[in-house]
Each structure stands twice: as structure tokens, then as C-alpha cells.
């Protein structure tokens, strides 16, 4: 077998998983920082951003080399393409974590406000999506990825509800406008993270099944049998 190539693929996989871990951790930390009004945690998220960016560059470089030097096709090619896309999505997740941390930093300086929005619940849901998307990549299981796609609807609804209630709150209690605005932005950031998790799941399905399920187009029928004799 092509050992160097296989090693390259394994390396790529390991790096992506590590980056996934970093991104997942960043989101969890940022959300926790927001909920607990923890400035120290915010700084950790901001510092961790650098590592995520470096990892993104390294993964892209490795993928590029493998494509150029090993001429992968079929499943190997799909895998590498999926990795580059997931790579990009994970970096954006890191960016969103930073955004959340910045909102948290802003909120710490404001008096605590009681807002009718359940950020913790939303954060938990989004975190679960990211985790499951990464799991589906580790296991190479399209069914797990499919589940992530379904969870996106739930998060979208949560975000829409949050918007409505927070706008209402800003109208009724103008003194907490800034806190409400921060909460709104965090909800939006979380919804974006969920979108990225969905993208990751779609890329996994592309890799595993060779089916392009993006943009809510139904997955293609199982690849048809060629016009050959039975075997």
C-alpha cells in the first residue's frame, strides 16, 4: 500500500481532530465566560485564537501537498476535500467563539440584567451539534452527520425566539438595551456556529457517501449499479 500516502491521510485526520477539539473548547469556554461573567476565561479564548489559525494553515498546506503529490481519487480525494472545507468551518467557529468572548467582556462591565432568554440552553444545543459533527467525522458515519442536520432547525428556532423576546425587552426596558443587544449578538453567533456544524456534517456525508447534500437538496439516490453482470 502507499504507506507515505496513508501516513499523510492519518496525519491530516489527527490534525483536524485536534483543531476540532480546540474549536469546540473555544466555544464552550466563551459561552461559559458569558454565563459566568468570567473575564479570565474570555482572555483564554482570545489567546487560543492564534493556535486555531496556525492549525488551519498547517492543515491546508498538508492537504495541498497530498493533492499535488499523491494524485488521490475517489474516497481519498473526497476525504481530503472534505477536510479542507471542515478546516475552514472550524476556523470560523473559532472566530465566532472570539466574538462571543468579546460580547462577554462587554457584558462584564455592565450591571447584571435578567433577560428572558435561555443562552445556556442554546449554548448546550450548539455545543452538542459541534461535538456530534466531529464525532461523525471520527467515526466516518453518515447517520451521525444526518442527525446534526436535523438539530440545526431547533437552533434556528431558538435564535428566532431569542430575537423576538430580546427586541421586546429592549422596547419595554430601555435601561438594559446594551445587555439585551449583547445577548442578541451572542444568540446570533451561536446560530452561526450551528450553521458551521451543519456544514461540517454535510462535508462528512460528501466524504462518506459521495453525495452532495448541501443547500437542503435531498441526497442523491444510492449510486446506481453499473450495467454489468452480477458478481
Amino acid at each position: 500500500m502507499r504507506t507515505r500516502f496513508q501516513q499523510g491521510l492519518d496525519d491530516l485526520r489527527a490534525r483536524l481532530l485536534r483543531m476540532g477539539g480546540l474549536a469546540e473548547q473555544a466555544v464552550d469556554r466563551a459561552c461559559q465566560a458569558y454565563i459566568d461573567r468570567d473575564l479570565a476565561r474570555c482572555h483564554m479564548v482570545l489567546e487560543g485564537e492564534f493556535q486555531i489559525n496556525v492549525a488551519e494553515r498547517e492543515i491546508d498546506e498538508l492537504a495541498f501537498d497530498l493533492l499535488a503529490l499523491q494524485q488521490p481519487i475517489a474516497v481519498d480525494l473526497r476525504f481530503i476535500l472534505a477536510v479542507t472545507k471542515i478546516n475552514s468551518d472550524l476556523e470560523r467557529v473559532g472566530d465566532q467563539a472570539v466574538n462571543i468572548a468579546e460580547r462577554a467582556m462587554d457584558l462584564v462591565e455592565l450591571p447584571k440584567a435578567d433577560l428572558p432568554v435561555d443562552i445556556p440552553r442554546m449554548a448546550a444545543a450548539v455545543s452538542a451539534m459541534v461535538r456530534r459533527a466531529l464525532e461523525s467525522f471520527i467515526e466516518g458515519k453518515a447517520e451521525l452527520a444526518q442527525a446534526v442536520l436535523e438539530m440545526d432547525n431547533v437552533v434556528d428556532r431558538m435564535k428566532d425566539e431569542a430575537f423576538i423576546t430580546l427586541v421586546k425587552t429592549m422596547n419595554e426596558r430601555p435601561e438594559v438595551t446594551r445587555q439585551a443587544l449583547d445577548a442578541l449578538l451572542v444568540a446570533r453567533n451561536l446560530e452561526r456556529v450551528a450553521d458551521h456544524a451543519t456544514n461540517i456534517a454535510e462535508d462528512v456525508i460528501f466524504w462518506v457517501r459521495g453525495a452532495d447534500v448541501r443547500h437542503n437538496v435531498a441526497p442523491e439516490p444510492p449510486v446506481h449499479q453499473a450495467s454489468t453482470d452480477t458478481h
Binding site: 500500500m1 502507499r2 500516502f5 494524485q71 488521490p72 481519487i73 475517489a74 474516497v75 481519498d76 480525494l77 473526497r78 457517501r209 459521495g210 449510486v223 446506481h224 449499479q225 453499473a226 450495467s227 454489468t228 453482470d229 458478481h231
Partner: protein, 252 residues
């Protein structure tokens, strides 16, 4: 214009050893179909069965049906007649060493009884132009022997020779495996242009070549046709695990 090839339950034997098992497939007209597979999988045997060349080996036989357009290859017509309608290019360029370039190209016609001098000149020129060799040899058609050309030129000469008899189908058995990358590139370019007029079946062990020149690809393994589909499908999402294992280099 080319015609399609239809193969139905083709089986082939060398003596007691069976080399092909129930091959059924189609190669559409005016397209190139690549045949890939590991060594000994039967891809060369298969292509040679299409123009009954395998019969030149003693003790070889085949059953089944092969239709090239309207022509039924195994039923009714003599093998020699069949081969005049089908062009073949071999792995190692094999121009006739004692003949000039002109005579090489005209060989298929002259040896089969066609001697009209003026028409021959025209046919030779046309064939050499089709195989992109005309400009390089037009001044030494009768002076240079076929064997004095470079490897890539020799192979183009063999292609011209095959095309001179105006076949509808061109069979190529690893035509570039003995050539350098530049010559290979020229011939691949040629195949692209020839598709407009001919139907091509090309055996290749180089998968990148199959993906470059052929619209359809068939994967053979141990004498069986495992999968035949559009090339981009075979090379991005093949249906059969064996196909995938082969093309990704996990065996063979």
C-alpha cells in the same frame, strides 16, 4: 462516423484456462472507453477478442456475441474480414521495418488488394494528418523507413496505418506505455480529436490516462468486468469496493 460496440456474454479461453467470464458491456459510438485493471485481469484479452486477434494464438477460443455497429464479429464473417474494419494499435510501436513511411501507411490497403496509386497518395496524406505526423515526415515519405523514426513518431505512424483503412472502431492496447511523457501527451491529444470520427477502446494501466482521455471506464479483475460507468463516477464515487481499492492503490 463511429459505431457503438455491444458485447454480450463474452467468454474466452486459452486452451483449458478461462480468461474472460461472461463479459457484457457497451462502448458508445464516438466516445472513448478505457479498460483498466491489474496485470492479468484480462483487459488485453478482452480487447483482442473484439477483433478476433486472440485467435492468432493457437488453442485460443471465445464464445458470446460481439457487435460492432451492424457487424456481428463472431457470426458469419471471416476473422480476416473483421479485422479490416477494425483498427488496432499495439503496446510496442510496430511499423513494418523494411517499408518506407508511405508504404507503412498504405500497407493495410495494398496488402488487401487496393492499388489505385492516386487515391493511395491522398489516403496516406489524410491518415498522416489525422495522426498528427504529416508535418514531421512529409518530405521523406518514401525515403525513410518506418523503423527510423522515434518511438512516439513510430506509434503515430502505426495509428496512421490503422486509420488508413477507415475503420469505424479503433482498439488501442496500452498505446503509450512504451513512450515518454511528451509523446504520450501528443497521443492523448490525438485520441481526443479522433473521437469525433471513431469509437475508441483503450486499454491502459495508467489510471490518470484513463481519466484524461476516456468518457467511460471499465474495471476488470480476474477475467470479470466488475464495473463500467462514466469515468468521473468511477474515479470519484465508484460503486464497487474492489474498484475503489484498485484505483486508490490499495492493491494491484
Amino acid at each position: 462516423m463511429g459505431v457503438g460496440i455491444k458485447v454480450d456474454k463474452l467468454n474466452a479461453w486459452f486452451g483449458k484456462t478461462q480468461a474472460l467470464y461472461d463479459i457484457t458491456m457497451e462502448a458508445p459510438a464516438n466516445h472513448a472507453t478505457a479498460v483498466i485493471g491489474p496485470s492479468g485481469c484480462g483487459k488485453s484479452t478482452f480487447v483482442r477478442c473484439l477483433n478476433r486477434m486472440h485467435e492468432t494464438v493457437p488453442d485460443a477460443r471465445a464464445t458470446g456475441r460481439v457487435r460492432i455497429g451492424e457487424l456481428d464479429v463472431y457470426n458469419g464473417t471471416a476473422a480476416v474480414q473483421i479485422r479490416r474494419r477494425i483498427g488496432m494499435v499495439f503496446q510496442k510501436p510496430n511499423p513494418f521495418p523494411t517499408m518506407s513511411i508511405y508504404d507503412n501507411v498504405a500497407a493495410g490497403l495494398k496488402l488487401n488488394g487496393f492499388h489505385d496509386r492516386s487515391r493511395l497518395d491522398e489516403i496516406v496524406e489524410r491518415s498522416l494528418k489525422l495522426s498528427a505526423l504529416w508535418d514531421e515526415v512529409k518530405d521523406s515519405l518514401r525515403k525513410k523507413s518506418g523503423a527510423s523514426l522515434s518511438g512516439g513518431q513510430q506509434q503515430r505512424l502505426c495509428i496512421a496505418r490503422a486509420l488508413a483503412v477507415e475503420p469505424q472502431v479503433l482498439l488501442m492496447d496500452e498505446p503509450c506505455s512504451a513512450l515518454d511523457p511528451i509523446s504520450t501527451g501528443k497521443i492523448e491529444e490525438l485520441i481526443f480529436q479522433l473521437k469525433e470520427k471513431f469509437t475508441i477502446v483503450i486499454v491502459t494501466h495508467n489510471m490518470q490516462q484513463a481519466s484524461r482521455v476516456a468518457e467511460f471506464t471499465g474495471f476488470f479483475l480476474l477475467g470479470k468486468l466488475i464495473e463500467l460507468d462514466k469515468t468521473e463516477k468511477i474515479f470519484t464515487t465508484p460503486s464497487d469496493k474492489r474498484t475503489e481499492d484498485y484505483i486508490t492503490g490499495r492493491f494491484g
